[in-house]
Amino acid sequence: MTKEKEKYLIDGEKGKWEVVIGLEVHAQISSNSKLFSGSSTKFGAEPNTQVSLVDSAFPGMLPVINEFCVQQAIKTGLGLNAKINSYSVFDRKNYFYADLPQGYQISQYKNPIVGEGKITLDLPNGTKTIGIERLHLEQDAGKSIHDLDPSNTYVDLNRSGVALMEIVSKPDLSSPDEVNAYIKKLRSIMRYLGTCDGNMQEGSLRADVNVSVRKEGNKELGTRCEIKNVNSIKFMQMAIIYEAQRQVELLEAGKSIDQETRLFDTKKNETRSMRSKEDAHDYRYFPDPDLLPLNLNKELIENIKKNLPELPDQKKERFIKDYSLTVYEANVLVSEKEISDYFEEVVKTSDIKLSKNWIMGDLFASLNEKNISISQSLVTAKKMAQLVDAISSGIVSGRTAKEVFEIMIESGEEPNKIIESKGLQQKSDPKELEKIIEKILSDNKDKVEQYKSGKDKLFGFFVGQVMKISSGKANPQLVNQILKDKLKK
């Protein structure tokens, strides 16, 4: 019953339709130099300043594989629980375009470096495993800039030759939400591994989205359309929703789907045909004779495996076990390596429950509000730990702590300094508190009588009075304790 509810279905005129989605993610490898040349890969440089003779395909220039990029691909493959192929081949994918200097892209076609693997998604209703078909290495093309001049196209080759991993999923995704979870998980794994920074604004992560629909319960795959080069999760989701609806409408009208490549227009929120199957490029793939096949020795793979960092799934298990977190909390805290590192640094010294609540509560809210990442926050893990300690040792109350935190996120000041300079320490001297309480009790004798005759609710009134007189700085636990004692007598 509930399972049916979870399913993402499109309500057509003539019934319900399932959506089948597969992604080809292009992830830029974190590497200082390009896949086959020594040029820098730094983002944002002046156009055509990071271009070697190889990148611009001068006569007689030859590619030489960047071994670091190979290791990054192996690392990523291992992170995706995938088979690493000890033998792989670089092929040429031939086509003409102004930003493709060689007239071909060096890629891997029949023999990719990484074979089948899988990714586990944590969804609201549990986990789902998405199959990985393959991961292969390839070069990026340059960039054509059409809007600088009315009659000319400008070409920037800085990106030409930059190393990409193309990660192809099986058609296991069935909703925009799953696509969101998949991209986030993939990105998180690669960021943990340090193999791709996953920066979508800078184009480090883009995807071709394959979409098809089928009648609910049907096991056969429908004809798919490929939506090219979508560069944000939001756009991927919008494109899928539009495309699935388009296909359902066509099918319900008795028409068929043309297998074709489509573009997503982000302004109009629609996909449109780019080229049909008949017009599909014949890329004339063949093994690049300038490069020898890649033969990886076992030791290299084993060595990389041995030195793999803890990945999100393992960390999640450990967090649940070591810190008694719920699955939800663990998922949130391991989603980004920076967040999990932050959390672990805070709880190294401080109370787990308080730390967790403060990070997932006030801290996350402030990050959202400021639209910054945890590493950009002025509230460092050390400062957060200090604040949590101040609460757990009774120096400030939770309420005062919020006041302190507000100052911290703006100024980055240490909480202890804020507490001291603003005189926010709790009054925790029992004798001092006793004096205040005795005065309140003697000023409100009638209320004391009422309380003693059974009006328990008045206890809150007395606490309120203490807080009022102490300007909220009285240690609430102590106040409770002393009040109870006094009222018994």
């Binding site: 006569p59 007689g60 030859l62 030489v64 003409f96 007239g103 071909y104 070409v155 063949f286």
Partner: protein, 486 residues
């Protein structure tokens, strides 16, 4: 020393080392010959003034402990030379001046040599007669209006006419050995990977290999020594220790086994070639080698295989000449596709276009398996044939070409007959093994003919030794009337 330019490279090096002659004198004598040449058309670019400057610099402070001290060398115009136009014989690169130096030429300059000029060749090294060059056909010094062979035709011609003391070419299917055979000179195609391809305009990457073209086997050993070496910029370069080919050169070939493949006796081959081949066997036998009949059964598939593999790679290698970045760009056309079409239509010659079309066809979907994959399989069979044979023999003796130099225009419109010229040389490229062509005699017209010695992978030394022994006994003499100076 008026006929110094007739001397071998080794002799000239020796005279310079003994300080009997200066580099400048040598250079000026070759430049004089170059200037006297009115008809060969072997040069695309002259570097006379720069060469003299380099020679003078050398003489001021002669460094004599190198392999090629103060030697001017003209090279095939397929090698990129820093600051000097590099055309590959094509209109497409008629304005292209690289700002980098090919590894092979750099190796030569590091050994004391300097650039004398850039030599004509078939367009992108595609041709067997030097008739496809945008810069016009080259003539063979052997006789007016005959072709020098190709694609390294300008190199063979310039060497034979004493316009350069030595030269280098590239050999994808016979482009060094066939012109060497046609001009009575020595040409070696080394093991694939022995000489770096970095900075050489690519034709077919898995077959291209640079090699020396010289007057004598001794010169050939010296040049190979200067050229060969591991280059980390070429992923297909072989990482091995340098060898002293010239120092270890010997004519003692006693006990070596020489294979004679029966498949190289082809129909319609002139009798003279058969005679020379027989003579070659006799000479090697006299030198103490043993002659063994062998079979290379897949030889007949070599040419069709070659004409699938080479054009396939070429069609992709030449995609970069699109008018966008460098070289020729047509000013016709109003969009990118039209610019491509016009640039490539106007910039490439017919033979290059033919091979791009063949290559594009054999790689296209639906034909790839039937042509390209099949060709790769046959290529392996051809290689296996050689591997099997080399279990029995040290080297293989064959004619270099099925004919002597032909007339300009004779085969220009008959590509198949032109391609057949490479029938004895292409199997070697497909197998990636070394082979050398040495002059073996002449035909009735007094046109030279070559014999080819094929060796095992990286067995260049042995090949050179056998060639050295044979050369001594054959004692071939050029007999040129220098008609091109008239």
């Amino acid at each position: 020393m008026s006929d110094l330019t007739k001397k071998s490279l080794t002799e000239i090096v020796s005279l310079i080392k003994k300080k009997e002659i200066k580099s400048e004198e040598v250079t000026n004598l070759f430049i004089k010959n170059i200037k006297n040449d009115k008809k060969l058309n072997s040069f695309i670019t002259n570097c006379n003034d720069n060469a003299v400057k380099k020679a003078k610099n050398f003489d001021k402070n002669p460094k004599l402990d190198t392999l090629l001290p103060g030697i001017p060398i003209a090279v095939k115009d397929l090698f990129c030379t820093k600051g000097v136009k590099t055309t590959a014989g094509s209109k497409m690169l008629n304005n292209f001046i690289p700002n980098y130096e090919s590894t092979i030429t750099k190796n030569l300059w590091n050994e004391g040599a300097f650039l004398l000029g850039k030599l004509n060749c078939d367009e992108y090294a595609m041709g067997s007669s030097n008739e496809t060059s945008f810069f016009g056909n080259v003539m063979n010094p052997v006789a007016e209006n005959t072709v020098p062979g190709g694609s390294s035709g300008g190199s063979a011609s310039a060497l034979t006419a004493n316009l350069t003391p030595t030269t280098i070419g590239t050999d994808t299917g016979g482009s060094i050995r066939q012109p060497a055979s046609f001009t009575g000179t020595v040409g070696l195609k080394p093991t694939y990977g022995l000489c770096s391809r970095w900075g050489i305009v690519a034709f077919a990457s898995s077959l291209d290999q640079a090699g020396p073209m010289t007057k004598t086997v001794e010169d050939c050993a010296l040049m190979l020594e200067a050229m060969a070496g591991f280059d980390e910029k070429d992923s297909t370069s072989i990482n091995k220790k340098k060898e002293n080919y010239s120092k270890n050169l010997t004519n003692n070939i006693k006990g070596l086994k020489i294979g004679i493949p029966k498949e190289y006796r082809v129909d319609g081959m002139p009798k003279e070639i058969d005679k020379l081949w027989e003579n070659g066997k006799k000479i090697l036998k006299e030198s103490g080698a043993e002659i063994i009949d062998i079979s290379l059964p897949n030889t007949k598939y070599a040419l069709p295989t070659y004409y699938i593999v080479a054009p396939a790679e070429a069609s992709s290698n030449l995609a970069r000449y699109d008018g966008v970045k460098y070289g020729f760009r047509s000013n016709k056309g109003t969009n990118l596709i039209e610019m491509y079409e016009n640039t490539r239509s106007e910039g490439f010659g017919d033979e290059v276009k033919r091979r791009i079309l063949i290559g594009t066809y054999v790689l296209s979907s639906g034909y790839y398996d039937a042509y390209y994959i099949k060709a790769q399989k046959v290529r392996q069979l051809i290689k296996n044939d050689f591997d099997e044979s080399f279990k029995k023999v040290d080297a293989i003796l064959t004619p270099s070409t099925p004919s002597t130099a032909f007339k300009i225009g004779e085969k220009k419109n008959d590509p198949i007959s032109m391609y057949l010229n490479d029938i004895f040389t292409v199997p070697v490229n497909l197998a990636g093994i070394p082979a050398i062509s040495i002059p073996a005699g002449t035909d009735n017209n007094n046109y030279p003919l070559g014999l080819q010695l094929i060796g095992k992978t990286l067995d260049e030394q042995k090949l050179l030794n056998i060639a050295f022994a044979a050369e001594k006994k054959i004692n071939f003499k050029q007999n040129l009337n220098r008609w091109w100076e008239k």
